[in-house]
């Protein structure tokens, strides 16, 4: 910190006053310096936070009230018109129904993850091998997964070959039939993300103190009793967290359907539609309004989750 003293001013002051002033200033200087240190550390992090999180949110709210195309210098203000369009034009609104497949998928995913996390937290042979195999898909590149499952679902692909083995002669078009495509894509999503839920549940179950199981054994509890009275309450919080991740994830599905089908055959999701509206059809205003709707839904879901699973009620001991 550089102390700037006005040149020449001290010439007119008595030595005593100068000393007093300097003393006072010196003191306040260190104090101010003390206070500015945290801001020096925060300068860059806060800069990024504002630039890439809060500024976009603010801009998005503003764009959503205009008919901006992303390039024109003027942004025509149209009020809530974009929002009215989203909720009145069925072709814009129908993508929400596609999310229902993924929401249903995420419940299946959580149930499977909970089942495998429970059985693998007890003594099991080859436990680490099973853990690794179940978790591994989560680490894979989304594009690679998309291509792997294109191969899996293609006519005469892996799935059809498996079905032929068990005697199914005429398998349906998994990705060609609009009534099936979202089931195929949602199950790909389950395959991809189940491992994360599994590892989170497993970690939570293992953090439950061992004495509780020992006590339960002494009381003659069955495995189901242990699950019902020890594990389920013990991992309430993480199940609650998984619910928000599942629902906000299901609403913002993009990669799997975009890579595998490009949104064809009725598999277009909300985010694919938003991206196309903004960058293919140059309707940034309308796309921003769609993004605002998505953000609001996610915030509401999070708020409900906080109400249903408050942080402080998860203690067991």
């Amino acid at each position: 910190m550089v102390v700037v003293t006005g040149p020449g001013r001290s010439r007119f002051k008595t030595p005593a006053r100068t000393a007093r002033r300097r003393g006072r200033r010196g003191q306040s200087e260190t104090k101010r310096g003390w206070r500015s240190t945290p801001w020096l550390f925060l300068l860059i992090p806060l800069g990024f936070l504002i630039l890439f999180t809060y500024l976009p949110v603010a801009n998005m709210l503003w764009y959503s009230l205009t008919t901006w195309d992303g390039r024109a210098p003027v942004k025509e203000f149209v009020g809530l018109d974009n929002f009215v369009q989203i909720f009145t034009r069925p072709e814009l609104f129908q993508v929400f129904f596609v999310s229902l497949y993924y929401i249903a998928g995420s419940f299946v995913q959580m149930a499977l993850a909970l089942y495998f996390a429970t059985i693998l937290s007890f003594k099991t042979r080859f436990r680490n091998f099973f853990k690794g195999v179940i978790f591994f898909p989560y680490l894979l590149n989304g594009v690679a997964i998309g291509l792997v499952f294109l191969y899996f679902f293609r006519p005469d692909g892996t799935l059809d070959a498996l079905l032929t083995l068990v005697g199914v002669q005429d398998p349906p078009q998994w990705l060609g039939d609009p009534s099936l495509i979202n089931y195929s894509l949602a199950s790909t999503s389950v395959w991809r993300y189940m491992g994360l839920n599994f590892v989170l549940f497993l970690g939570a179950i293992q953090s439950i103190p061992n004495e509780l199981y020992e006590a339960a054994d002494i009381d003659g509890a069955t495995s189901w009793d242990k699950f019902r009275y020890i594990i389920a309450p013990g991992i309430r919080k993480i199940i609650g967290l998984s619910f928000i991740l599942a629902i906000s994830g299901a609403l913002s599905v993009f990669e799997i359907p975009y890579i595998m089908t490009g949104g064809a055959n009725g598999s277009e999701t909300f985010v694919i539609q938003t991206v196309n509206t903004a960058f293919v059809f140059s309707k940034v205003g309308l796309a921003s309004a769609m993004a605002v709707v998505l953000l609001l839904i996610v915030l509401i879901v999070t708020w409900i989750q906080r109400k249903v699973f408050p942080d402080d009620k998860a203690d067991l001991v």
Partner: protein, 274 residues
Amino acid sequence: MSAHIARTLKYASLAVACLAALLPLVTVFMAALKDTREFATTGPLDPPSNWFNLDNFVTAFTRGNMLQGFVNTTIILVISVTGAILIGTMAAYAIDRFGFRGRGLVTWAFLLATLVPGVTTQVATFQIINSLGLFNTRWAAIALFMGTDIVAIYIFLQFMKSIPRSLDEAAMLDGANRLTIYRRIILPLLKPAIATVVIIKGIAIYNEFYIPFLYMPSSELGVISTSLFRFKGPFGAQWEIIAAGAILVIVPTLLIFLFLQRYIYNGFTSGATK
């Protein structure tokens, strides 16, 4: 007796889970080892005649520009992970170790940001990247990976709380200033948290598709994901080449997973719950 049945059911369900997890990958791997004629005449479940036929991998690697993809991914990964760690630790240090006016507001601003899913603000973020002149440069991805990583800050904040303040005070008595404390005491003690962030963030960046696809459309800037995505065009019908490309992308992940298994589990558990 019923215990016996339960045991059988348990292992049967695990076997089915393994089959479901591995079969899609194994069949793609087998497809990658077949030549064009063999691919056309055999089914997906038939093993390849030659397990060491690597021609498709060579074709995928050279004609699919995968080397460039790996180089671009590595550059972006190294710079953004380093940046995210510096930014995250600095923010956590300032928030946890200083009492200053506005501290509550700043903490709140960082935590509130975890609620905004990045995917929702992309339309508006795009305009910012564009007006900064970063569109179609590697810096677009780097800036976004560095700057929007609130989870890293959160992990550092949690971990910082467990480092005793008396260490800071002792160093201060020895005449260390705040920067020295940050560099010599806080950063080394944060190592476990840094390892967690490196793992989570490294995997996320390696797998990221959306950001490079949207912000770096130029073909020289292809990363692993976007290079592989381009396979759908020129190799449209050549499944054995596409399969080889997918396997090439998966193999590094598999190796890292096998070597760092334990750390990866811990990383994801602490990353998501804390």
